[in-house]
Amino acid sequence: MNLGYILLIPLIPLVVFLLLGIFNQRIKPAISGYIGVFGLLVSTILSCYAAYQYFFVHGKVNGVYQTFVEKTVWMNFSDTLHIDMGIFIDPISVMMLVVVSTVSLMVHIYSRGYMKGDDGYTKFFAFLSLFSFSMYGLVLATNLFQIYIFWELVGVSSYLLIGYYYTKESAVAAAKKAFIVTRFADLGFLIGILIMGYYTGTYDFETLNDPEGNAILNWASTSFMGLSVLTWGLILIFIGGAGKSAMFPLHIWLPDAMEGPTPVSALIHAATMVVAGVFLVARLFPMYYFIEDGFALNIVAFVGAFSALFAAIIAITQTDIKRVLAFSTMSQLGYMMLALGVSGYDGHEGLGYMASMFHLFTHAMFKALLFLGAGSVIHAVHSNYLKDMGGLRKYMPITNITFLIAALAISGVPPFAGFFSKDEILVAVYEHNKLLYFVGVFVAGLTAFYMFRIYFGIFWGKETKYEHKPHESPISMTFPLLFLALMSILGGFIPFSDFVTADKAGFEAHLNYPLAAVAVVVGLIGIVLAWVFYKKESDLADRLANFFGPLYQWTSDKFYFDAIYLFITKKILFKRVAAPIAWFDRNIVDGTMNLIGNSTVKTSEKIKGMQSGKVQDYAFAFMAGVVILAIVFVYLWAE
């Protein structure tokens, strides 16, 4: 398989970024928009072509999808360890290429309308291209270090884009928070990489993931505190992934990241970057699965399940629609982690893996659609808050329909995409652990409920008085909505299990009707409840909120996790660590040095007095000296 053109996929956005970044001031905004869209379009076409080539033409040999690697040494650490740069083609990376390209292209097109007239129009497209480049690099990474490199780059593009409205204090704070929290998680990732590199002697995915390879067979050779060091490494790497994918308790940055422009939220914080954590676990899946019998994988499963539940509960009470979507994203990411966590490796055992990837795919489509739809709404009413909306279906028909499709998809209503992927996740979980299954089903119900809560809140319900009459968005914004809606409908029918599986061999997946029925029924219950609460103009919701009182308050305040983090950083790290250290430095360390200097000066002041200029004093000193010397040499030292 010829990989040369795949190299172009990440490089084109990079060139676009450099072009727009360097000639920022000299390019007319309209042109820069076209440059950005055009660049991405080429990348998308190439990605689709690559996917076609891989899945249908060259990829499969003897029923197993092959891995194609092309790489070059980027830097040498030592004789054995080095960082390579290259491209790594296997089912999940190709699938990710398609996902990233599609969503990114849609977001680019959408942004031309959404960002129109903004000061930093060119800059915005430059950053988007930078992000696309980094994300492509991430999914194509051949080794742990390469993925880490692009991991950081997507982090920084996310930082730049969240802080895009940099004159707004809250955006700056959110950007900073996102970067630092993920950076903290990356610390775990980095240490994990170091552990992996040291104990296995390689960073290459190919070598690491080989089930017959050294790393997996010899995992038990070194242990630390009762677990294999590789398990520790995997757990630490998972921390990195959890940071990017906003898993509990590193999720706090994601809701705040909604301060960025809405297309950014759709691209980075819903469809692509946040799934990097899931992708990372999937990328190292054989290691997770084989080492220490999947100990680390169990952690992934439980963290995923808990995050899914936790986020879904919070999502119910949020009033900012973007935040609802953010928590929904976190919840769905938890789903994917959960699916990975319960997956096996061979054949049908690997259903969870495949379901997770499937859900990643469908979720990217409908969640991007939800965000873009929300963006369209926000564009129309100039507010993020549910209270400022209502009855918009009359003014924004396309947005209304597409949003409804996305909401149905995420709620798992057949035949929309979410139904298929979610069903497979639930089947996989059911086969693995019943408790987690119930959590999953419950979350599915909650998801349907909060999605339709905002759907009804926005498009139905009581009509708010609008200052400007809301109107449908321009074609540049509605086209992506329609396209993504199409994907949300059709996406579910892709036979994913043929393409993307843990052992790369593919298997026949069937719908498990009883379980599917349960999930659908729970979803519908959620929708109906939402109807009851929010469709009618009733105070039922308020009464319920009052009934739960403090519990509602807790949830609405996101269980005070922000406060806890704030306490740790501001009160403990800043006040109790950094400030004392700064004080210590100025007063103790520097004080010591100054003390040495000052005492020298003082001593010399004192000694100076001895140089009185009086001959008699010198005579006295002379005589005393002679006497002392005489005593010493005549009596004490007289041999």
């Binding site: 040498n76 920084v156 950076r183 170091l194 360390v589």
Partner: protein, 495 residues
């Protein structure tokens, strides 16, 4: 004249030319030409080095040896390997950038540029010397002009800062001199003629007891200028008071003498001593790394923030050197280079901001991204480079250091490594804090709205420094391999 001695001769000629100049315009033109020639020579040296390396596998190439003090066998012995070539390149670039940044140095311009170039002579000489004594002489040549540069052209409590800096560095020099003499008198164990030549001494097996005694002296003597905790306190005050170009040169180049000296003298000549003492200094260096980062969080003066950040980053250099393996050493040298460019860039930017807003207090600044976009954007880039973002030099260096440090398989090393690694988070905190307060947010002061845009010489200075940062970060292979190859002979000394 051989290729290396030109590095001393050209600045001397530049100084001679400067003596006959009048006024700022002539002085800066002459210094610029001198520095340009120097940079061209350095680039030429890089290519010549690669060519020479193919045919010459000695530890040092382009060597030359002239006796200048026969009684004590002191030679003017010079030569370079990949490490010194890299550091010479750093020096040449930073000096030229420094000249550009000082384009408008209006009081006593001639004297200012002369001092600057004298300082650079010391640095060049230090990097090419192979004779301990000559090296020491150049070291002192580099340190002394600092006093004048800060004391005369500085701001704030400049006499205090200059005095503190000079005294601490002189104190270190005194310790260093003792160490050098200690090495000298043990440089020939069978009673033959004593020597200062590094390569000669390296062949001799200095007794363990002697190494044990003199390693800490050598290490501290050099590490004070490399801002080893707790001997770093000259650095914040010194940098805060120094004029921009001097801060750049000092943090960018002069502080590298410490790491280089530790590497060339302490590690190379006293390997067993290094082995014996490493745990102790590793603790100090690791404290320095994390401590500098935390201190930087609480500072409000931009220069202080950067000075503490230097403490942290250079702590990492010493930390890596003490790891005593090739990967970490490679990281240490790369970190020296990377930090040299980055911190020089930072100080240049801080100087520009200060020149325009007349304050360095971050709390008084705000929204600069709107009013001086070029400088602010570069500041963001420099900040991202400083926090070790891939694509910039800092990442390459730090990863080498961490991977190298991780090669030690015992609890102590693991803990100190993880502590040092965690500094990357703290670094992110203080960098983003400044970026958030100073560059982003609303414009706090109406007067800022009419700030002067960036000028061509400032842009030149910035680009000079930015290009190597990005270059090293994107394509580290050639420089990293050049250094790695040069590390071979050194690593063999370590037991």
């Amino acid at each position: 004249m051989d290729i290396l001695s030109l590095f001393i001769t050209v600045p001397v000629l530049t100084i001679l030319a400067l003596v006959f100049t009048k006024g700022l315009r002539q002085a800066r033109i002459v210094s610029m030409i001198g520095s340009l020639i120097q940079l061209a020579m350095t680039i030429n040296l890089v290519f010549a080095y690669f060519k020479e390396r193919d045919i010459n596998q000695d530890i040092m190439v382009f060597t030359k040896d002239v006796v200048w003090f026969e009684q004590f066998n002191i030679h003017y012995a010079i030569g370079v390997d990949g490490i010194s070539v890299a550091l010479l390149l750093l020096t040449a670039i930073v000096v030229l950038a420094g000249v550009f940044i000082s384009w408008k140095m209006s009081d006593l311009p001639k004297e200012f540029f002369i001092s600057l170039i004298v300082l650079s002579i010391g640095v060049y000489g230090f990097f090419i010397s192979l004779d301990l004594f000559t090296m020491f002489v150049f070291f002192e040549i580099a340190v002394i002009p600092m006093y004048l540069l800060i004391g005369i052209w500085g701001t704030g409590p400049r006499e205090y800062a200059a005095m503190k800096l000079t005294l601490m560095l002189m104190g270190a020099s005194a310790i260093l001199l003792v160490a050098i003499l200690g090495i000298y008198f043990n440089s020939n164990t069978d009673g033959g003629p004593l020597t200062f030549n590094i390569l000669e001494i390296a062949k001799v097996n200095i007794p363990f007891e002697v190494q044990k005694l003199f390693f800490p002296l050598t290490f501290i003597g050099f590490a004070v200028i490399g801002a080893l905790f707790p001997f770093h306190t000259w650095s914040p005050d010194g940098h805060a008071s120094a004029p921009t170009a001097v801060s750049m040169l000092h943090a960018g180049v002069l502080m590298k003498l410490g790491g280089y000296g530790v590497f060339r003298v302490a590690m190379y000549l006293l390997p067993e001593g290094a082995q014996y003492w490493s745990w102790f200094f590793i603790i100090l260096a690791a404290i320095g790394v994390i401590y500098g980062a935390f201190s930087a969080i609480k500072q409000t003066d931009l220069k202080y923030i950067n000075a503490y950040s230097s403490v942290s980053h250079l702590g990492l250099v010493l930390f890596a050197l003490l790891m005593l393996n090739k990967t970490a050493w490679n990281g240490a040298i790369l970190q020296s280079l990377s930090h040299g460019f980055m911190t020089a860039l930072f100080f240049a930017l801080i100087g520009m901001i200060y020149e325009r807003t007349h304050t360095r207090d971050v709390r008084k600044l705000g929204g600069l991204l709107k009013v001086i976009p070029f400088i602010s954007a570069i500041y963001v880039i420099a900040g991202l480079a400083s926090l070790g973002l891939p694509g910039f030099s800092g990442f390459v260096a730090e990863m080498n250091i961490f991977v190298g440090a991780f090669e030690h398989d015992d609890m102590f090393y693991r803990i100190v490594t993880i502590v040092s690694v965690s500094a990357i988070v703290v670094t992110a905190v203080y960098i983003l804090r400044v970026v958030g307060i100073m560059l982003m947010g609303p414009v706090k002061n109406k007067a800022f709205l009419s700030l002067e845009k960036v000028t061509w010489y400032e842009q030149l200075g910035i680009l000079l420094l930015l290009i190597p940062i990005v270059g090293m970060g994107v394509a580290p292979l050639w420089i990293s391999d050049m250094i790695l190859a040069s590390l071979h002979p050194f690593i063999h000394g370590v037991p």
